[in-house]
C-alpha cells in the first residue's frame, strides 16, 4: 500500500564537528534552519505542490499541516492560506503543463 511518507525527501545537516548555525545566526537572515554546533539534523522534507518550496518537517509542530484534497498533496503555509482564502489550488504541475501547451500552440 502506498504511503505519503514514501514520497518524502531526505535532509541531512551535519554540524557534529562544526560550530554550526545558532538560533541567533539563523534569525539574522530570517532563517529557521537552526543546527547548532555538535548537533546533526536528519529529517524528512516535502515540497509544496503549488510553489515547490522545500518544507522541512518539524517534529515539534503542533499545528496541522494543510493537506489539499484537490491535488492530494501538502501545501506550505503561504500557499495554504491562499487556497483557504480563494478555494483555488493551482499546482506547479498544472502551471508547467499550461506553459508547455501554450508553447506547442505557438509552434
Amino acid at each position: 500500500m502506498f504511503s505519503k511518507r514514501e514520497a518524502e525527501g531526505y535532509l541531512l545537516v551535519d554540524h557534529t564537528d562544526s560550530p554550526g548555525i545558532s538560533a541567533e545566526q539563523a534569525a539574522s537572515v530570517r532563517s529557521h534552519l537552526v543546527v547548532p554546533g555538535g548537533t546533526k539534523l536528519e529529517t524528512a522534507t516535502y515540497n509544496c505542490t503549488n510553489c515547490e518550496r522545500m518544507i522541512i518537517l518539524n517534529p515539534l509542530r503542533t499545528r496541522e499541516r494543510y493537506y489539499c484534497q484537490k491535488c492530494d498533496g501538502y501545501h506550505c503555509d503561504d500557499c495554504a492560506l491562499i487556497t483557504k482564502l480563494t478555494g483555488v489550488c493551482k499546482t506547479m504541475k498544472q502551471v508547467i503543463e499550461e506553459l508547455l501547451a501554450r508553447m506547442a500552440k505557438a509552434i
Binding site: E6, A7, E8, G9, Y10, L11, L12, V13, D14, H15, D17, S18, P19, G20, I21, Q25, A26, S28, V29, S31, H32, L33, V35, G37, T45, Y46, N47, E52, R53, M54, I56, M92, K93, V95, I96, L99, L100, M103, A104
Partner: protein, 171 residues
C-alpha cells in the same frame, strides 16, 4: 531523460541580495533549460564545508532566478557537468549550467526561493535528496520566472570555502 551531476570542487561563495547580478565564479551553480520547452528536475543537492580555520556560517539558497544568464554560459575552474551514466546520449539541446556568462548574469528571484541550504562551512555538511520525481524542484523553459534556478549565498554570515554538487535530470 538523463541525469547529470554538476560538481564544484571548491569555491568561496560571495553573498548576494535578491535581484542582484551575480559575478562569475562566485556562486556554485546555475541551471537553465536548453530550449523553450525543456523541463529540468533537481534531484539532489550536496554542500560540504571546506573552511580551514574559523566558523563560517554560510547561508546558501536554492532559488528561481528573476533574470536568466545569457549568451555563452560555461563552467568555471574546478567545475564539471557530467552524465551519471556513461551510456547517456548527448541531448540536442543540453541544459545550460555553470557559473560564467558573457552577457546578462543570473539574479536570484525575491519571491522564488526554493530551499534553504545553510551550513557552517567550517566542518558542516548539507545534503538533500528527493525520493520521487514529484518531489523534485522543476524548471521549465529557458526564461524567467521558471526557466532557471541558481544556488548562491544570501547576505549575512561569513561565507566560507565549500565543495558542492547538484544532480539534475533533463526531460
Amino acid at each position: 531523460m538523463a541525469r547529470r551531476i554538476q560538481a564544484q570542487t571548491t569555491l568561496t561563495p560571495s553573498a548576494y541580495a535578491d535581484t542582484t547580478n551575480m559575478t562569475d565564479a562566485t556562486y556554485p551553480h546555475f541551471l537553465q533549460g536548453g530550449s523553450p520547452t525543456q523541463v529540468n528536475k533537481i534531484w539532489e543537492i550536496s554542500l560540504n564545508g571546506q573552511a580551514a580555520s574559523s566558523s563560517s556560517p554560510t547561508f546558501m539558497l536554492l532559488s528561481r532566478d528573476s533574470q536568466t544568464a545569457s549568451s555563452a554560459n560555461s563552467t568555471s575552474a574546478g567545475q564539471t557537468d557530467q552524465p551519471l551514466d556513461f551510456a547517456t546520449a548527448a541531448l540536442t539541446s543540453a541544459a545550460q549550467v555553470g557559473t560564467t556568462n558573457t552577457a546578462s548574469k543570473p539574479q536570484r528571484s525575491a519571491t522564488g526561493h526554493l530551499a534553504n541550504c545553510s551550513l557552517n562551512a567550517f566542518g558542516g555538511v548539507y545534503f538533500w535528496r528527493a525520493n520521487r520525481a514529484e518531489e523534485c524542484f522543476t524548471m521549465v523553459s529557458a526564461t524567467a520566472p521558471l526557466g532557471q534556478s541558481s544556488l548562491s549565498a544570501f547576505t549575512g554570515g561569513t561565507p566560507g570555502l565549500i565543495g558542492s554538487h547538484l544532480i539534475y535530470e533533463s526531460m
